[in-house]
């Protein structure tokens, strides 16, 4: 087989079966809303159908589709910031009430975690616990966390995508980290998930 020959695309009729679930999961991890994820997958396939001729075959069909989906996801965020009020004044209060008393002291007792990142990296179960914890974040905060931490998007870019100020992003990230920390403590570090 000649490797310089581009792989042809499969029949678009099969796309949904071949890639539908993978694209759906990719979108869902970032937008954290099933209906929006479905819409983005549909938009992606439609755009791919129109752009079929521009497929170079240099990347796999899946990678090519994911590339289109990434653009669609960014477009979605940019579009939806125009329809939504920007900064959320309740955010700071929610952190305040759940974790700190009126004087700003911790209301929860933070436990000691005796595990190294290297150890945790080896444990497959840890990642599903982390996903479950991320699922419990309020959707906007989950979006910010996924964009910033999972995709490594620059903070200024995340602000543009979500239509928020940098101060608001820091508050959202603080909320995300504080809630994830607590959830991981309850469901992994203290639940014996770290025991062999």
């Amino acid at each position: 087989m000649n490797s310089s020959q581009p792989e042809p695309l499969s029949d678009p009729e099969q796309w949904v079966d071949l890639h539908g679930d993978a694209l759906y999961r990719f979108a869902l991890l970032r937008v954290r809303d099933v209906h929006i994820a479905e819409e983005l997958v549909q938009e992606t396939f439609c755009a791919a159908l129109e752009a079929k001729k521009s497929y170079s075959g240099r990347s796999s069909e899946r990678t090519w589709l994911i590339g289109i989906l990434k653009h669609k996801t960014m477009d979605h965020f940019r579009r939806s910031t125009r329809e939504r009020p920007h900064d959320d004044p309740d955010l700071q209060d929610a952190i305040e009430e759940n974790y700190f008393d009126a004087k700003g002291r911790w209301k929860v007792q933070l436990g000691e975690w005796n595990e190294s990142p290297e150890k945790v990296l080896e444990r497959k179960e840890f990642w599903s616990v982390l996903h479950r914890c991320m699922d419990r974040l309020p959707s906007r905060i989950g979006q910010a966390f996924a964009l910033r931490e999972i995709d490594g998007t620059e903070g200024s870019e995340v602000c543009k995508m979500l239509g928020i100020s940098s101060t608001n992003l820091w508050v959202m990230m603080h909320r995300a980290r504080t809630q994830l920390r607590q959830c991981l403590e309850n469901n992994w570090f203290e639940a014996g998930g770290n025991q062999p």
Binding site: W15, R105, L121, V171
Partner: protein
């Protein structure tokens, strides 16, 4: 010097993962952490989360793929029709 409470200290700890803090904030934070057991834990643990997501990006995506989450059948049907 700025005196921080735990809420402010944890906020600055989180912020320091996103952008460099000013000298005076860094100093105030270091002072608070030197005296506060819980905030010190908080700082260690959120850095831990930050680090593990960074190191384990592939594992995180893999675990998500292995979760078996699928697009609902009615959505698939709708998309198949749209592609027709």
């Amino acid at each position: 010097m700025m005196m921080l409470n735990c809420r402010e200290a944890s906020q600055l700890t989180s912020e320091s993962l996103d952008h460099p803090l000013s000298w005076s904030k860094r100093f105030a934070l270091r002072f608070h952490l030197s005296m506060c057991k819980y905030c010190k834990r908080y700082a260690r643990q959120v850095r831990f989360i930050h680090q593990i997501v960074d190191l384990g990006r592939d594992e995180l995506e893999e675990a998500w793929d292995a979760s078996g989450i699928q697009m609902p059948e009615d959505a698939k049907k709708r998309i198949r029709e749209a592609l027709h």
